[in-house]
Symmetry: C2
Subunit: 146 residues, 2 copies
DNA sequence: CAAATATAATTGATATATCAATATAAACAC
DNA sequence: GTGTTTATATTGATATATCAATTATATTTG
């Protein structure tokens, strides 16, 4: 069994699960949109639901630090997914607006992401998923407090 | 709830859990060894248990591709954790040997990693952990087959 | 209000992730 | 045995991760 889980802990399975999911997600997203990453998709989805979000809040939601988000946004502006303008009330901030290319991309990837999630969770009962989520959240809290 | 889990899926919690764990792990490892990463520690641990492993097998175990492992190993050689020599039976391969600095580092970090894992899984019953692992492995298989 | 502090974002340096292309060696086919 | 295919690892290009230091703006405090 050593070669399947060399650390012998569920934490290894957590990492393996998310990596496999990301591979699947990236592969299927690439079929419909070529120049976008899984993380950039997540940024689009979050911006779509939270128009006025600041970069640092966005960073928290996608598990990145401010430096990473700055560079991701730069790239997404360069690739014409986003437009960035200065925030009028607080000039340290920026407004992040999805372009029409971004909107079209969202329409293309949303169904793919839905299918990806269904694929990943296929055969799991709602109870099983709820329990998974509950256990993971215990781990999250354990790690945060130390 | 949107701001806690913007995607509304357990897959987001999986990612969050592993990221929080990695932060905790890196923080505590840095207290005892300064120039090493969580992934490099995992490489040391696996090499310690599997002397004759090839780079591509190692890559699989730590969820990286061959290119990443090549560069990690380069760096670990540069930082004197590993020595690399050509494999005599198959000259495409290399032998990866842990140096005495690597051994000492292992001794320092092994207990830290044990404590990190305990911290992360604190308060979870054995059944809960087993179920978590089982569910995650279903997800892993679902993703791999598609 | 001026000085000190806090917040938002960027930049630099370095490590890692990923894909595609390549080099080299081994195994296979005929 | 030469040619083809497969396997192992490296390299180049680009994206992301992370830490520390910095810039610019806001807020707080005396």
């Amino acid at each position: 069994m050593k070669l399947e889980n060399p650390t012998g802990t569920a934490l290894y399975s957590i990492e393996k699960a998310i990596k496999e999911y990301r591979k699947l997600a990236q592969k299927n997203i690439a079929k419909v949109v070529k120049d976008i990453t899984v993380d950039q998709c997540l940024v689009l989805i979050i911006l779509n639901d939270n128009q006025d979000i600041a970069q640092n809040e966005l960073a928290n939601l996608v598990f990145k630090d401010n430096a990473s988000i700055t560079r991701m946004i730069e790239l997404m502006v360069k690739n014409e997914y986003l437009i960035r303008t200065i925030h009028q009330e607080d000039r340290r901030k920026f407004n992040l607006v999805i372009t029409s290319k971004g909107i079209k991309t969202l329409e293309l990837i949303q169904p793919v992401i839905q299918i990806n999630r269904q694929t990943a969770l296929d055969g799991l009962s709602l109870e099983e998923i709820a329990l998974l989520d509950k256990t993971l959240n215990k781990i999250i809290i354990n790690c945060k407090n130390k």
